[in-house]
């Protein structure tokens, strides 16, 4: 049966009140990665053209990666992080701890400088 507007609006609110699923946490990792990558690139003045040069990819391949659904593999994340000088790691936490639902993501400059950024702050 087709739902009316009020039911759909209620469903929308209920959807946001749901506990995060496995898919939420997976997308969360990807979004956090992009957020910290783009923030870092902006801070360090690394352009997308420069990223293309460092990864040995064409500019159109980088543009496509940024503009299409960014369903990145871990291998690709590590490759990009290496190219801009970030260290990327995924560290599992016990689900019994009081961790947040965000992905566990730590990035650090390869030179050990002050660019440590963490999402999960237990």
């Amino acid at each position: 049966m087709k739902k009316n507007s009020q039911e759909l609006i209620a469903d929308f609110e209920a959807f946001f009140a749901q506990e995060p699923t496995t898919a939420d946490r997976s997308w969360g990792i990807i979004h956090d990665f992009y957020h910290y990558l783009l923030t870092y690139m902006d801070k360090e003045g690394i352009t997308r053209a420069e990223l293309a040069r460092r990864t040995g990819k064409s500019r159109s391949a980088i543009t496509q990666m940024f503009n299409k659904t960014p369903n990145l593999t871990i291998k690709k994340m590590v490759e990009i992080a290496d190219a801009v000088g970030l260290e990327f790691s995924l560290v599992p936490h016990s689900s019994k701890s009081s961790q947040k639902y965000r992905s566990t993501y730590t990035s650090q400059s390869s030179k050990g400088l002050a660019s440590r950024m963490e999402v999960n702050e237990d």
Partner: protein, 133 residues
């Protein structure tokens, strides 16, 4: 313009402290968020994660989010090439007010002009309602 409401979207505390509040427009009992259910479950979850981060990060950066479009004073979430969710930042609030789905990846300028017209009405009303908060 009919009866306008700005409903606040609750973000679960487990995602972190809300910095920017999320609102969506309900006009005459209808809302653009109804279009949300035309998307696949995976796309909905993706958008949920984007919106949650827009709420809990001071300035969330994503290739899927444009905060201001060329020539226009509103932004869009583009979860897929041909789907658009439009919002306007008013203070520390994001107000989602429109949605569009086209087969093409870009929209005619006329669509944006109409959206901006609507957006200005919503912004004025939102500011009026929230004055004093």
């Amino acid at each position: 313009m009919g009866k306008l409401e700005f409903r606040s979207l609750k973000i679960m505390a487990s995602y972190g402290k809300t910095i920017n509040k999320i609102y969506y427009v309900v006009e005459n009992g209808r809302s653009t968020v109804e279009a949300f259910f035309k998307l696949s479950e995976e796309e909905r979850i993706n958008i949920r994660q984007i919106i949650v981060r827009m709420a809990t990060e001071e300035h969330f950066i994503s290739p899927m989010v444009k905060y201001t479009l060329n020539k226009y004073a509103f932004g869009e979430i583009r979860p897929r090439g041909q789907r658009f969710f439009f919002f306007r930042k008013v203070g520390n609030n994001y107000v989602f007010f429109g949605h569009c789905e086209k087969k093409r990846k870009s929209l005619p300028d006329q669509v944006y002009k109409q959206l901006e017209k609507r957006m200005k009405i919503y912004e004025k009303e939102f500011t009026r309602i929230n004055r004093g908060f």
